[in-house]
Symmetry: C2
Subunit: 139 residues, 2 copies
């Protein structure tokens, strides 16, 4: 079986790129790698890339960089994703989100010692800040 | 702004957990961290966790580990995600997928030197194997 290094790109589908970009830049603090009419790509600490796609913008596929063709993808609903935090930064995240007017929907305390808080982005996606280690075996 | 370590969890929503688990274990080679009636969680090289949720199984929220409550999430459509590969393993991935009867829908060659191949999982999600570095600035 060939090896994998990890997950590189995680995608969310959003109604209004401008609104979502503002959320992920101003509230979550992500740095944009690329912005077009179709997508915004964000660096998450040099380990992961978050892709925000305008809903319907890639449902016929897309060209990217010359002849490159990317097959169709698109989704509706409230997708879940989790950002990885240290235990120290987790406390700051809670206070930071509250200070920005974000409602914390739930907090979980995992049996391995990790913690999570859950909130919604502008499209209702279920976003988690997870304090690791202590979430999953090895994480 | 509090710090993030990366993206910990990436989610896909699937019609048949059994079928999807077989695909991600037998074709992609992922190791399960947890399997329930509601979800399968996979370790991706100790860096990322892939979550497969049974479609509709979390649309009313879920309890997890005692009193822990996870708010509702669910999605329809064909979500995009990318696995990270070395340039060496990328060649093996192409041949491996072909040998397993997976149709490669497209191949892209990025201006920074990276490459990608695209294929569908059993639910039609658009899965990418990306050879990095050379995809994004810093990736």
């Amino acid at each position: 079986m060939p090896a994998l290094k990890g997950i590189l790109e995680t995608a969310l589908y959003v109604d209004d790129l401008h609104v979502s970009c503002r959320f992920y830049e101003d509230i979550i603090g992500l740095k944009p790698l690329k912005k077009t009419e179709r997508l915004c790509a964000y660096d998450v600490n040099g380990r992961s890339v978050l892709l925000l796609f305008r809903r319907g913008g890639t449902s016929d596929g897309a060209t990217a960089g010359g002849d490159n063709y990317i097959p169709p993808h698109d989704a509706n609903g409230q997708i879940h994703m989790a950002f990885d935090s240290s235990h120290e930064a987790f406390k700051e995240w809670h206070d930071h989100l509250i200070s920005k007017g974000i409602k914390i929907l739930s907090r979980t305390d995992w049996m391995r010692g990790g913690h999570s808080i859950y909130f919604r982005d502008p499209d209702g996606h279920l976003i988690e800040i997870a304090a690791s280690p202590g979430l999953w075996p090895g994480f």
